[in-house]
Subunit: 365 residues, 2 copies
């Protein structure tokens, strides 16, 4: 069922989206502030993907860049709508709705900003079912909708259109080049598609899931219940039904570098118990990619690896990792449509240069 | 007067264009072979800029990239026409003619390739009056015609449109980013303009000048006359009337690196006379920028600094410079429209980070 999203919902949505960002996706806080400012006391119509018309014309909108840059280079706020308008003009067709390309991090907010500015509704679905670092890592692309033509807007009104036909990796490569030259952040409109395409290729109801997750964590804290149980309970009725606690410990090492337009690095988390030598190591490229406990893989992309505060369950992004933080690490299973051979080729371990095979997090546990 | 260019004219045109490339512009040989192949026994109509209609719609076409890459990464040949078609589609208007953006090097050939493929005529004018390394270094831009929107095509059919409004330096910056990601070479259509704009902003008759130069050098060799006198005689009746021999010697040092999408470096040329300690040093960024004889500036951008074989006057590009070559270095004056304060701001010494002021080569001599 379609529903109305209001400014009061945004902090919960941001919390849930940061969890689904699995360490990356960019901090949604800045995006939330931009949406709040434009939305005021209004509301945004969120469309259930099962209920949209097959010929609804949807243009997803997003921010792209390294999360480390995103938190320092604040957008003017008008760029994503400029990207949408640029793509509309190029296609000679106006959008009936926008949609996220990823449900994690700041990109949960960018389509809401466009909606608040334009009055367009937002489809409750996305193409990553979490956050991924590259524009080609989309269920849209896996199931036959391609990203080109892509429109990219910069803060000084720069407008770029990129068309690489069916080659979504080349689209990502060229768009990343522009984003780097824009200072590390760009705003995009891409993967224009019909309502029928949305039903066939998108991960459904991820905006409402992020909102439910964030709300459940907050309510549990307010009611002095375990936020970890709240996360598991909320996800149990979704396509992300398995939640595994992978580790609890203290951050003892973080290496992070912004290179080639990405934030890449690793974190080490050591057991709190001084008699234990156990260590969990996480590698990331914007998002957490693999978690190894004493060298043994316990979770791997595309399953979610989420680092959260050990008490409040507040999600911690890769750029927020600090020495000494006490954290828990959760593994969360992804929907079946994200684990097919075609999906794993697009955003499974080999897509990130990892030699380890994908094994579902619930199987490892 | 309009005239017909045939395949037999191409070697002379290439030789003259290499001289006007002032070390850069890319080797026109590959471009010439592509034009020959498409043109066959046909001909290309070259339009005199004074005779074109004010409402003629002109879309210039070119190759961009580092000359060091251009000679290794051979274009398929269809890219520049794809760039033209992409810009036509974006503007909703078809071109009546194409034109060079620079008259030096391979970009003397690219518009001819487009003409041979499409049947369009080519306007006998350009926007650099030589070769320059950046897309913003155009008399077009200096006199009020801007490069955006620019269309860029890659060898795998990639199509990119860049619109930075009046900011031609940002256009260059973004297009260069795409070109680097395409492997170092891209093909472009930009600076779309009217016939009236051409008359106001372009350096006139530079295709015919390049052809005359190349032909004069060849004929002088065939007739055992001095090719250096032939160069001076040919230019005496053009807007490039001053030719100064700056140095004669042997290449004793070449440093060259391909960085940020450019070929940058320096060459040292030492006097042949063993009793002389004189050395000429040339700095280049794709093109030769400044020549210092024993530390004293003898020629500087935008004037032409041309390194040629000491006997045959065959022009030598920066990527063709080799230790031991015996060369002469010529300084050639540029037209007055390239020496105004606005022109010097766009492509004078400061535009290349040089602290030396511009002084006309004929004044220094």
């Amino acid at each position: 069922m379609s529903w109305q999203l209001k400014a009061a919902d945004l902090p919960d949505l941001a919390r849930g989206a940061t969890l689904l960002g699995t360490g990356g996706g960019g901090d949604p806080y800045i995006g939330m502030m931009l949406v709040k400012q434009v939305l005021g006391t209004g509301s945004i119509t969120i469309l259930d993907p099962d209920e949209i018309a097959d010929d609804l014309f949807v243009i997803p909108t997003a921010q792209m860049g390294a999360p480390t840059v995103m938190i320092e280079k604040i957008p003017a706020g008008t760029e994503p709508t400029l990207a949408l308008r640029t793509l509309e003009e190029h296609l000679g067709r106006t959008a009936d709705a926008t949609m996220p390309i990823e449900c994690g991090g700041i990109n949960s907010m960018i389509p809401l900003l466009v909606a608040a500015e334009t009055g367009l509704p937002v489809v409750d679905a996305d193409g990553m079912g979490r956050a991924f670092p590259e524009l080609s890592m989309e269920t849209f692309a896996v199931y036959g909708v391609h990203g080109s033509p892509l429109a990219l807007a910069g803060e000084r009104g720069e407008r770029v259109i990129i068309d690489t036909g069916d080659d979504d990796k080349q689209m990502e490569w060229l768009a990343r080049g522009i984003t780097i030259r824009l200072g590390g952040v760009g705003h995009i409109a891409e993967y224009a598609m019909s309502g029928a395409d949305v039903k066939r290729t998108a991960v459904p109801r991820t905006i409402s899931m992020a909102l439910s997750l964030g709300r459940a964590i907050r309510l549990a804290r307010e009611q002095h219940r375990s936020p970890f149980s709240a996360i598991a309970d909320t996800l149990s009725s979704t396509l992300y039904s398995n939640v595994v606690e992978l580790f609890e410990g203290k951050v003892t090492d973080v290496e992070r570098r912004t290179t080639d337009g990405f934030a890449k690095g690793r974190a080490a988390i050591s057991a709190l118990d001084p008699t234990s030598n156990q260590t969990l190591e996480i590698l990331f490229q914007n998002e957490n990619l693999i978690a190894r406990r004493d060298g043994e893989v316990v979770a791997i992309v595309p399953d979610l690896i989420c680092v959260v505060d050990h008490e409040s369950a507040e999600p911690i992004t890769t750029e927020g990792l600090r020495y000494g933080q006490r954290v828990r690490v959760l593994g969360i299973s992804t929907p079946d449509m994200m684990r097919t051979p075609a999906a794993l080729a697009a955003f499974g371990p080999t897509a990130f240069g990892l030699s380890e095979a994908f094994v579902p997090v619930e199987t490892r546990a």
